[in-house]
Symmetry: C2
Subunit: 321 residues, 2 copies
């Protein structure tokens, strides 16, 4: 048994999800097919489709619709990454060249749009209006979150602002990954809400861990410089803890006064944060969310998928890349 054993109950299904994704450019322009292949091949661990399949099977949703939904959600995730990489000017993602690195901005915008379109088509193929509405709402939340992050002046956010941001960025899609299967499943409104909450909790935990890894991770693994968020003026949970713990720290004072553009100071602050107790504090907060998520699972039937979802919550907070 590996740490990734939560894949076990659905490991036969994930290749079917991938092939459903790959089919989406059939009959389209060969260059578009190549682009889609490239993006899909560069895909990550398929955590979201795994969540969809586990939650859906636990709640006895129709398997074919679940596969379609899992493909829809991973395509939506993929589309947002394509546009994000374009916006950030990122040339690598997970160590692979981004589409953006190889194509013109125009082709990248349109390829992202195409992936959105196919995601929407797949979502419609679940034949559930409720799923479609949730799907479209999630997309709007994610895009609005990115726009807010872009428009808002940099500064120290409140906890509430931080949680709003990570909800929009990550937790909303995890929430969709558990709520939409529940909408397709054999389950009442109360358990649907519980499943939705599980998704939001692990999604928030996931993003907090990402924010920690931005400080502690190996540059090669994350594909960007250590502390890249703070270097761009984005204050995440580890930085928030550090600022709270050390209000008189000279580097903190400078950040608040001069802003993050004082690169020497921001670099020094990144170093201070990554070796501070703020990392463990942020991690404890993520673990608490995962534990809360796991506790919710007790409401569901005693089945392998439930234990896999428990493991998945633990994996999310224990991963190191």
């Amino acid at each position: 048994m590996t740490v990734l054993s939560f894949f076990a109950p659905v490991q036969d299904l994930l290749p079917l999800v991938e092939s459903r994704m790959r089919q989406q450019a059939d009959d389209r322009h060969p260059d578009l097919q190549a682009a889609l292949r490239h993006i899909i091949d560069a895909g990550g661990k398929r955590v979201r489709p795994t969540v969809v399949l586990l939650a859906g099977r636990l709640l006895e949703a129709d398997q074919d619709k679940l596969l379609t939904l899992a493909a829809a959600i991973e395509m939506l995730h993929t589309a947002t990454l394509v546009h994000d990489d374009l916006i950030d000017g990122a040339l690598l993602r997970r160590g692979n060249p981004t589409l953006n690195a190889q194509w013109t901005p125009a082709a990248t915008v349109l390829t992202g749009d195409f992936v959105f379109a196919r995601a929407a088509k797949l979502a419609a193929e679940t034949d559930s209006v409720a799923v479609m509405k949730q799907f479209a709402e999630t997309l709007a939340v994610m895009v609005n979150g990115e726009l807010t992050q872009m428009f808002d002046s940099r500064g120290v956010p409140s906890r509430e602002n931080y949680y709003q941001r990570i909800y929009a960025k990550t937790a909303s899609l995890f929430e969709l990954s558990t709520y939409a299967p529940a909408l397709l499943g054999q389950v009442g409104a109360s358990l649907r809400e519980t499943m939705r909450q599980y998704g939001r909790l692990i999604g928030n935990a996931f993003q907090i861990v990402d924010d920690i890894l931005d400080f502690t991770g190996q540059q090669a693994a994350v594909g960007k410089p250590i502390g890249s968020d703070l270097l761009q003026g984005l204050i995440t949970l580890p930085a928030l803890y550090y600022i709270e713990n050390h209000p008189t720290d000279e580097r903190v004072r400078r950040l608040l006064e001069d802003g993050y553009h004082n690169q020497a100071n921001t670099n020094a602050l990144v170093e201070a944060i990554r070796h501070s107790e703020a990392i463990a504090q942020a991690h404890t907060e993520a673990v608490a969310l995962a534990e809360e998520a796991i506790a919710l699972l007790s409401h569901f039937p005693d089945r392998p998928e439930r234990y896999a979802l428990e493991e998945l919550a633990r994996y999310i907070v224990n991963r190191t890349y």
Copy 2:
């Protein structure tokens, strides 16, 4: 009675469509609200929502759903324009500054995405899975068409290629504007198809007229230089006719040999085309499509909306801007 009298049966409803569009950024970031207001205020004549409302009322679709559908389709249209203007680097549309002219590319990409998201949400609010599927498919066709135009080498297209391109660019959305209301209406499969065909025909006619106006229109009205398509290497119907009529024309030979980058030659060719019989030939082709569309309307009930759709088809081919 003005030439725009086809608006009459739905003129009380169009403001409701507009307000449904405007609501889509409520509760979002103020800058996003401002952007959406800007885009909507710069909107055109709302031909597509008018088509939706006329077709839907003729087929007795639920009025509230029609308003939502009309807003969804106009939002989809708007989203594609936002990304198009970004891709083309256009600074003006219909004489108004584009979003692109005022905002960063990143903000423009995301605003387009947000408008897509809200369009999808509105489409889902029709509570029709069939409408949702058609909506997503249309988006995919439109984006695939743009990508094809971007990837394909310039050259003289076949008629078939030309019609594929204008279907993707324009007629597919007109088709959605008649087929989706039919899906919501009280009507059998055969009349639904007839309505769909009407939409495709007027959409093709619309784009042919646009392609003609690119040669003949007043620069101020179209907001781009005369012959801008050909100057970018895009051969549209008037150019196709001219090339067929004058295979030995020196300017045609040069275009085929040197390509459109020979700007002096391409400019001379634009001048030749705009004063040639090719304009009337292309227009005759558009009129024939409109007449075919009008003939199809005889299958529908004898009601004011049917006559408005007739007038609308005539307006589309008679407009001069």
